[in-house]
Amino acid sequence: MKRNDRAGRALLRRPIRRSWPLFLLPTAAAFVIGFVWPFLQGIWLSFCAFTTTNNARWVGGENYLNAVLDRGFIYSFLYTALFALVSLVVINVLAFAVAYALTQKIRGTGIFRTVFFMPNLIGGIVLGYIWSILFDGILRAYHTSILLETRYGFFGLLILMCWQQVGYMMIIYIAGLQAVPEHMLEAARIDGASRWQTLRRVTIPNVMPSITICTFLSLTNGFKLFDQNLALTGGAPFRFRTYADGSMATIKTTEMLALNIYNTFYGQGSMARGTAQAKAVIFFLLVAGLSLAQLRATRGREVGA
């Protein structure tokens, strides 16, 4: 039996392996062109001064030093972190509440789900412009604009992101809520647990995996945000700042990390490209670190459960 099994496996495996140029090569070649090579070159260039990829000159850690001394970069990092955290909380609380309500056997659940998910299909650039016109329509009554105040830009983007992401997270939460074992809810009901007690002691522990996924998803989404940021405010308003050590800088007060990197690459003249690539590597380490933490958190839960 076992030998037969192995024979069957070899029968399948050997011919497949021989046809690797057909099965594996196209994807592998594209993967090298579209990912591996640009990635490695990106790391190499972050240690170089360059204006284009074939005039790179090794400068060591200078780019990284410039990156962390860049006031705009540090500002955009803090701004992004704040935005990611606030949006994480707001989006997840709203999404969970909606998902919970929609799984309570009320009428029209299907329609509501359709409506709430819909904004996910509209791209970030288009979303940004729709909302910039809406916000300006409201703010014009107060003789101002979303481009004039940092907090308008912040809360505007928060509203936009909620509008887009609540439906997405809701889908994941609904899937989680539907998987809560019915007999556990039944048992809680028989024991006379209140709605709130059931929610806290039975439902939430059971949807913990969904909560972990959604938390990290909204966190990394917040950090990687680009299109919506570019289209809604593009970093405006700009403020000129003088620091305690006497240095001065113009800060784009609603510019997030991804947009800051983009602007360093393409907006500041080609001399800043080394710094931009170093920023991109730092950004990559940050996002990859978050994803790794997510992986560990989900794995940990699975083992614990």
Partner: protein, 291 residues
């Protein structure tokens, strides 16, 4: 259901509350619709008013929007469609084949490739955007011969490379879950790998194909930065690039016409969504749980 009266009343109240929230939720899209038919100046001053005799312009905005900015809008639509369909088809075909190879051969090279693919999923685009766009400007389709990779017809290769991670991950996971006995039987009956794949494996992959396809379509159709940096900007635009270009390059842009274009670009998306809603939601949930 024979529930007591109170929960039923609560249910009705919830339905009413969500009904109101849903109406508010679609308002932004309704606003686009309303403003697409207004004169430019009224879009700014009376954003929330319905078009009246003074502000209504009929389809003038659409006609104006199609042509202004010296790049016809329908060309952008055409390239968006070409890029999205070609890239998605290429990704589905190539990565599913590669995933089958990885799952069935499973030697060290496969494991290394698979690990790299998973790794690529956590790399943000900004990390590779500069080098990737330079690569696309220099590499040709067949190494040193053929068209460069910066056209709508060849950009699918870039999408295949940069987007391989998620697709390989999802397909490999699925292939590992299907028993290999069927394929072995096909092999015993004399099917080569190509026939085994297309006759036996491919049909079984259908549900995952739909999920992956939907994720790729949503990503590529809405993608802005990658095509903006990779494509030759004077020749080719996609819908997001076109809209960003109109907004970005003209200070006093015609808002009415922009609204008309935005409306034109979201109508197909909403129709597509309403038609295959179930698949879309399922696909997104599947992708999220793994990503």
């Amino acid at each position: 259901m024979r529930g007591s009266r109170r929960p039923r009343r609560r249910g009705r109240a919830l339905t009413a509350v969500f009904g109101i929230i849903s109406v508010i939720y679609v308002l932004p899209v309704v606003m686009v619709l309303i403003n697409a038919f207004k004169v430019n100046s009224f879009v700014k001053t009376e954003t929330f008013a319905l078009p009246d005799r003074e502000s209504f312009v009929g389809f003038e905005n659409f006609i104006k929007g199609m042509t202004f900015g010296n790049y016809p809008f329908f060309r952008s639509v055409f390239y968006s469609v070409v890029i999205t369909l070609l890239s998605t088809a290429l990704i589905l075909l190539c990565t599913s084949m590669a995933a089958w190879y990885i799952a069935r051969v499973n030697d060290r090279a496969c494991r290394v490739f698979y690990t790299l693919c998973v790794f690529s999923m956590v790399v943000p685009f900004q990390m590779v955007m500069f080098t990737l766009s330079k690569t696309a400007d220099t590499v040709r389709l067949l190494g040193f011969w053929g068209p460069k990779l910066n056209t709508p017809w060849t950009i699918p290769i870039i999408y295949l490379g940069f987007g391989a991670g998620l697709a390989i991950f999802m397909f490999t996971g699925f292939v590992k879950s299907i028993p290999r006995e069927v394929e072995e039987a096909a092999a015993i009956d004399g099917c080569g790998p190509i026939r085994t794949y297309f006759r036996v494996v491919f049909p079984m992959l259908r549900p995952t194909m739909i999920s992956v396809g939907i994720l790729e379509i949503m990503w590529i159709w809405n993608d802005y930065l990658l095509p903006y940096l990779v494509l030759d900007r004077n020749e080719y635009m996609t819908i997001p690039i076109h809209i960003q270009y109109l907004q970005g390059s003209y200070g006093a842009v015609d808002l009415g016409a922009t609204m008309a274009l935005i409306l034109l670009s979201i109508i197909p998306v909403i129709v597509f969504y309403l038609l295959c809603q179930k698949h879309i939601i399922k696909g997104v949930a599947a992708g999220a749980v793994k990503g």
